[in-house]
Amino acid sequence: MAAFDNATLERHGLKPDEYQRIVDLLGREPTLTELGLFSVMWSEHCSYKSSRVHLKTLPTTGPRVLEGPGENAGAVDIGDGMAAVFKIESHNHPSFIEPYQGAATGVGGIIRDIFTMGARPIALMNSLRFGPLDVPKNRRILEGVVAGIGGYGNSIGIATVGGEVMFDETYSGNPLVNVFCLGIVKADGIVRAKASGIGNPVYYLGAKTGRDGIHGATMASAEFDDKSAEKRPAVQVGDPFMEKLLLEACLELMKSDAVVAVQDMGAAGLACSTCETGARGGVGIEIDVKHVPVRESGMTPYEIMLSESQERMLLVVKKGREREVEEIFEKWDLHAARIGEVTGDKLLRVKDHGAVIAEVPATALADEAPMYKRPFREPASQQELRAMPNLGATPAAGEAFFVLLSSPGIASKQWIYRQYDSMVRTNTMVPAGAGAGVVRVKGTKKALAMSVDGNGRYCLLDPYEGARLAVAEAARNVACAGGTPIGVTNCLNFGNPERPEIMWQFAEAVRGIGDACRALELPVTGGNVSLYNETDGQAILPTPVIGVLGVIEDASASRSRVFPKAPADIVLLGVTKDEFGGSEYLKALHGIVRGTPPALDIELERNLQSLLVEAASYKWIHSAHDCADGGFAVALAECCFSSGAGAAVAIPAAVASASSGFDAATTALFSESASRAIVSVAAGQTDALLIRAAKLGVPAAVIGRTGGDRIRIRVEGQAAIDCTVAEAEQRWTQGLAKYFESKVA
C-alpha cells in the first residue's frame, strides 16, 4: 500500500481491504483523483454496500411495474397510457448541519430524480422526525427544515400534499428529513440514464460547479461526533429558480428524440453521473474538466469531479442534433457546456486540459463496490423492552384524551403544512391535512393517492412487525382515500450498520417490508437507505418510512377523513384488541416505549383495504380515516375537526389479548390495533356497506351518528368521553403550534 497513507484512506472513508480491492480492479495504485472517485462511489450512500444483500430480497416486479429499483426513480403503469414515477429520499445529515438548506436541497434532489426520468413532478410529501420540542435546538431544526421544504417546493411550484411528523429523544441529534416526489409521464416517454452511441456528445447543464458538498456523500455515511462541525464548509445551497428552469428545459428537451440519456448530479456529482450513465449503457465516457463551468477559481480536477453543487444535469445528446438542444438551453437562459463524449472502451476517462488524470472502468465505480454481509444479532435488551412495566393508576379517559390530542406527534400539523403550497397546478383533491395526498391526473378521469408512514417506536420493539405495520398503514391511508395501492417506495433510516444490533434491526425491517409487500402484492420500485444516524453511540429509533402510491379510477370518488355536515351513520371497520405496545398513549402519558407492537393480520388488512376502495368507488361512504397513533378516540376526533360536525358513538370493550392492565374505556379508546377504519356512510348505503364487509370477512358495526357539536363516546354503555368539538380541537390545534407562537401581532 504505497501510494496513500492510512490517514488519507481514512479521510476518504476507505478501509484497507477496500483499498486493496481498488488496486486489484485497476491493476495498479490509483491516482488521487481516482481515489476520490472510489471514495464517493463506494461510500455507503452511493454503493449500498451494507444494505444491498438485504434489499435484494424485496419484491420488485408486478404487472404494472415499468421501472424497478436501479433507475433514478421507480415507475408504474397507471393506465390510459400514463405512468407514475415516484421515489423517496433522505437528506438527514445535511438537515442537521444546516436545516433550511439541508431540507431544501433534499427537495431539489428528489425532484431532479423524477424529471430526469422525463416525468413532470406533480406532488411532494415529506416524512420528518425531530427531538422533543421543549428543547430550543429541536425547535430551530424543525422550523428551518419546514421553511426549507416550503422555500424550495413552493418556489418551483410543486404541491406538497402530505407528510408525517413524529418526535422522539433519539432524533435530537439526528433529525430525519425524508422527501417523496411523484411525477407523471406518458408510459412510452420514460427516459433512462443509459448512455449510448459512441461519439455522442456529453453536456453539462445548469449551475456552475463550486466547492459545495465535497465529500457530502461520504459525510452522509459517517457517524456524527463532536468534530462534525468541522465538516461544515460542505453545506450546499439550493437554488429553486435554477431548478425550475432545468425542469422546464429538460422536459422540453426530452420531448424531442435528440436526447439519449439524462442523469442528475446528486451525491458524488459529476463522478457519479458519468460513471453511472456509462455503466448502465455498457459504454465509456470521456470528459475534460477544463470544460466544466466553475464558480470558484483554482478548483482542482478532484474537486470538480466530487463537487455536489446543486441543480446540475448531465445529458447525452445525439451527434448532429447539438444545435437543437442548445436552442432550448438558450431559451431558458441556462448555461450548458459540452464536456466530453461517449466512448466504446467502457472507461470513465477524466482529462485535465488533455492530460489523463483518471481512467477507471465505469462499472468498477458503479457496480463493483464491496458488498458486505454484516453480522447481525438481536440486542440482549430486546426481551426486556417487550415486557410491559407496571404503570400504576390509570388516568381518566377524558383527561388522557386531551393529553393525546395535544401531544405533538398527534396534534394538528397545520402550523407546518400551512407553510407549504399544497395546491399549485390545481390538482389537489384532498385538502392539506385531511388525509392521504390525492392529486387528479388531468386529461384522464383518474387521481393518484399517496401516503408516507413509519413508526419508529413499533420498530424499536419489533423491527419486523413495525415494518409490516408501516406498509399496512401507508397502504391503508391510500385505501381510505379511495385508492388501490399499486406501488411502494421506502426510505430506511437506521443507526450504524457496523453494530450487529443495528444490522439486526435493519435486516428484520427489510424482511418485514418484503413480507408485507408480497402479501399485499405491492412491488417495491425504489427507495433510499440512510445509515449511521447516530450521535455519540446513541442510534435513532429504527425508522423505515414507507411511501405507497395508489390509483383512484374515478377522481370524484376520492375521500378525505372529514365527516360531512349532514348527519350520517358512523361505521367502525375492524376489531379493537388490547394492544398498547409502542403506542402514543404509553409515550404521551407515561413517557415510555415498551411492549409488543400491535399484531398485523395481513389477510384482514387486505380485505379491509379492498372494502374501503370499493366503498369509495360506489360512493357508499363520505369519509374514511384509519385508526392509528392514539387509537380510536383520536381518529374519531380527527374526523370531526374542521367538519363542523360532532359525533355520538357507542363502542364495545376491546377484545382481550395480552392484557395491559388498563380499564375497559382506556383500552377501547386508545389501543392501537391495526386494520381499523372509521367511515361515515352516505344516506341509505349502510346496509350495502355492511353486507359487503361481511362478505369480505371484515368486522363492521354501526357505532353512531355524526351531528351536534360534541364528541361523545360510550364504552360498554358507560360515558367515557364527552366534550365539545371546539375544546378538543383547540388542544389539537395548539399542540404543535404553541411551541412556535410568534409574539408579533
Binding site: N154, G157, F241, K244, D333
Partner: protein, 238 residues
C-alpha cells in the same frame, strides 16, 4: 375571447390560469413567453403567480424588466383588462402599474390557506359579474402579501374606490383577525385609476372547480367575458 397568460422564468401558476380560462371557463387562452413582445389577439392579460426569477432580490423586482412588460404597459394604457395574481400583483407594483409595495407577511411565514375575500367594488372588468359585497372563499399562497402604501396613497385608493378586495371574517368584517398577512386596511386587491388593471394576492384560478374545494374564483373570469361583451370589444365564443 382570448386570455394571454404571461410566462416569466419562475412563474408557476401559469398553467393554472390557462387551465381555468380555457378548460373551465371554455374561452381561448395562450401563453406568452416573457421575451416575446406581442400581445396581438389578446383580449385580457393575466400575470400569473409564482416566483419570477426566483423572487430573488424582491418579489417582482427583476420581472418588471422583462421585454413583455412594455407591451403589458401599453395594453393596460389602451384600457384593456390586466389581472395580476399574487406574484403577478407584485410585478404590477414593481412596474408602477399599481401603487404601493409588498412587505413580508407579518408573521414572517409563508401562508397557504383559504381566506374570506370580500368584493368591494364591482365596476372592474374582473368583478363585474360579482354581487356587491359578495364574499369569496379563495386561497392565498404567499410569503410577501403584506400590502403597504403610505396613508396618502391609501386614502386616495379608498376615495377613488380602488380597493377591490379585502380580507374578511365569516361575518364579512375586515377585522384584524381576518387579516392573514398584515396588509394595510386588510387590502387583498386594488385596481388602477382607469379600473382596468387589477392586482390581487388571493388566487382565483385555484378556486374555479368545486371538486378542488371552491368554485368561487370563476366569477372573476366570467366577469371579463361579461365586461368585454358589454363593451362590444370582442366576439364571445361561448
Amino acid at each position: 375571447m382570448k386570455f394571454a397568460v404571461v410566462v416569466f422564468p419562475g412563474s408557476n401558476c401559469d398553467h393554472d390560469a390557462y387551465h381555468a380560462a380555457k378548460h373551465v371557463l371554455g374561452q381561448d387562452a395562450e401563453f406568452v413567453w416573457h421575451k416575446d413582445t406581442s400581445l396581438a389577439g389578446a383580449d385580457a392579460v393575466i400575470l400569473p403567480g409564482g416566483f419570477a426569477h426566483g423572487d430573488y432580490l424582491r418579489t417582482g423586482a427583476i420581472a418588471r424588466f422583462s421585454p413583455v412588460m412594455a407591451s403589458v404597459k401599453a395594453f393596460a394604457e389602451a384600457g384593456h383588462p390586466v389581472l395580476g395574481v399574487c406574484n403577478g400583483f407584485q410585478i404590477l407594483l414593481e412596474a408602477g402599474l399599481l401603487p404601493g409595495a409588498m412587505l413580508r407577511n407579518r408573521g414572517l411565514k409563508f401562508i397557504c390557506e383559504y381566506v374570506g375575500v370580500k368584493v368591494e367594488q364591482t365596476d372592474t372588468p374582473f368583478t363585474s359579474a360579482c354581487a356587491p359585497g359578495q364574499i369569496l372563499n379563495i386561497p392565498i399562497n404567499h410569503g410577501e402579501g403584506n400590502y403597504f402604501a403610505d396613508d396618502e396613497v391609501l386614502d386616495r385608493l379608498e376615495r377613488e374606490r380602488r380597493v377591490i378586495f379585502r380580507y374578511v371574517n365569516a361575518a364579512g368584517e375586515a377585522a384584524p383577525d381576518a387579516n392573514p398577512n398584515g396588509a394595510a386596511r386588510n387590502i387583498a386587491g386594488i385596481c388602477s385609476e382607469r379600473r382596468n388593471v387589477v392586482g390581487m394576492m388571493p388566487h382565483p384560478e385555484r378556486a374555479c372547480e368545486p371538486s378542488l374545494g371552491s368554485g368561487d374564483g370563476l366569477v372573476l373570469f366570467e366577469s371579463v367575458v361579461k365586461t368585454l361583451a358589454e363593451q362590444g370589444r370582442m366576439a364571445v365564443q361561448k
